[in-house]
Amino acid sequence: MRLLLRTTSLIIALGLFASSASFAAGNVEQGKLKAETCLGCHGVPSYTNVYPTYHVPRLGGQHADYIVAALKGYQSGERSHGTMQAQSSGMSEEDMADIGAYFQSLQ
């Protein structure tokens, strides 16, 4: 049991270390330019998605790595949302990292 706990902790620690090192840091200034389109929906307080209806998620202060992962999910089709799939379709990894860095900078 104790060994299991230790092994699990080690795996978690390694996993966290690996994931924090897996994305290159983006450029906030570049991201600000590239994120202009995003703000058409994500920059409007109380803006809602339709069918189904829910508020467009708040992204100010969101982790860059998570935003990159979400964009990659939309680009690959793993995550479904027509608008987000279209938006992410032409993005490079660098674009995603820059956009992620920009949103993360808005605490």
């Binding site: 703000l39 409007v44 307080p45 998620p57 202060g61 982790h63 995550r79």
Partner: protein, 125 residues
């Protein structure tokens, strides 16, 4: 090679976490008559990844503090019906009723965290 190694370790972590939650849930779902848990009660199982108040300290787990409740409910339902795929989240939502998902979404929406990027403020810079 390095990437493969990293992927294997991350996958192991994900599977281990998800399966431990899954087994707990199988146990809990036998109490069908139990009243819905409050948002704070449900949130206890979110802390490990999403942080004490939803402001996750780990960059690959999203901050959810201050997120819109209806967006989070949509996300939780999408994990539950399989539209959105994530091994950890699938395990978590399996045991939650719709009311519990609403409760936990409301709980995190009430915390201080994420903000809306305000275009008007941005254009002044």
């Amino acid at each position: 090679m390095k990437k493969l190694f990293i992927n294997i370790i991350v996958s192991l972590f994900v599977v281990a976490t998800a399966s431990s939650f899954a087994s707990e849930e199988a146990h809990e779902s036998s109490h069908d008559a139990a009243p819905a848990k409050s948002g704070a009660e449900v949130a206890k199982q979110c802390v490990a990844c999403h942080g004490e108040d939803g402001n996750s300290l780990t960059p690959n787990f999203p901050r959810i503090a201050g997120q819109h409740a209806d967006y989070m409910l949509h996300a939780l339902k999408s994990y539950k019906n399989g539209d959105r795929k994530n091994a950890i989240m699938a395990g978590i939502v399996a045991a939650l009723s719709e009311e519990e998902m609403k409760n936990v979404a409301a709980f995190y929406a009430d915390q201080t965290g994420l903000s809306v990027v305000n275009i008007d403020d941005e254009s002044k810079h």
